[in-house]
Symmetry: C2
Subunit: 179 residues, 2 copies
DNA sequence: TCAGTCATGTAACCAGTTACATGATTAC
DNA sequence: GTAATCATGTAACTGGTTACATGACTGA
């Protein structure tokens, strides 16, 4: 009953009230995206596999004018989801941050280019903070896990921004630049 | 001259004084690993491709008793590395954090399990902080990009730990647990 | 002598993205 | 009418891990 990575988001999202591939993708894109992304190219085939495996079942939504297939968890699916949530093995934790990699190798770069890099990273994380802030009110109302995760994200990405601000000042001091 | 992701670490590490696949992997594992990993299964084939493409050249190390192939950057390779470092397009930034995904869906979990999850994540990041602290003295001495990256990592992972500590207290209060 | 480390490499697999294709419905 | 959005899906590709295989050298 071992779930593939994408299956975990999908089952979770179905229980969370997102019964179609499309709706799952929509919610992922404004919530889990920053720590767990998913593309249509993963979602639709995985839904089919999950149905084949008996963890979900589906039927076309007749109340909708457009083509629309609604999924729900089977008893098996509920069990598999709970099992994963309660499991206590190693948790996947992977990061790929090209900016940090550049920074690591940045000693050969001109100061101005180094600053440019740091500012780009700062802006990127500030952008995430902004996006999180934009959904904060709605999330606060609902509370629970999603809201906890949101606040966590807000905290760490703000800490990123601070870190880059400090780095920028430090570099400017080092190279004798006057702001 | 577009470098594959792994090519960037490799070229950077060669310039940084790690001329063999083995040594590249060793350094990656204690430095960039937390934001840019690489496995032997990527490194060795990529070295061969880079040589084929003329970005590196190599010869067996005669001064070594064991089999050992030393790579160095060609002029082409130097140029490609510099070009990447100075480029200013979008930077890859990807995270996959299974713990946060669980937390997102954790509302159906018993409080005790929720706390367990939060503690596991806390411990994981504390472990990273410990590992970073272990290499801090050596990195401080050398300074430059690697040291900047290290301090950044220390900062954000400490902020993760704090975040989870707070979350734990919050949950305990919510569920009326007395520490 | 034997465990550990240095050192290179391959094959099978896994998980993911991007781009494309299709078409209906809704809002302006 | 037409642009945006809803909605599903596939094919080609990319980038990566894991496990395995091999063997020499080094230090206790």
């Amino acid at each position: 009953m071992n779930l593939t990575p994408t299956a975990r988001v999908i089952l979770g999202m179905i229980r969370h009230g997102r019964p179609t591939g499309y709706e799952i993708k929509q919610l992922v894109d404004v919530s889990t995206r920053f720590f767990w992304a998913a593309s249509y190219g993963q979602i639709y085939p995985e839904l089919a596999r999950l149905e084949e495996a008996g963890l979900v079942e589906s039927e076309p939504d007749p109340s909708s004018a457009r083509r629309r297939r609604e999924y729900r968890l089977t008893a098996e699916g509920e069990r598999a989801l709970d099992e994963w949530l309660a499991s206590s093995g190693d948790l996947i934790y992977e990061v790929r941050d090209e900016g940090l990699l550049k920074l690591f190798f940045s000693d050969s770069l001109e100061p101005e280019k180094q600053l440019e890099l740091i500012r780009a990273m700062r802006d990127h994380h500030q952008g995430i903070v902004d996006q999180l802030n934009a959904v904060e009110p709605g999330a606060r109302e609902k509370g629970g896990g999603p809201y906890r995760v949101l606040r966590y994200g807000l905290r760490v990405h703000s800490s990123y921004v601070e870190g880059f601000d400090d780095l920028e000042k430090e570099l400017q001091a080092e190279y004798g630049v006057v702001a």
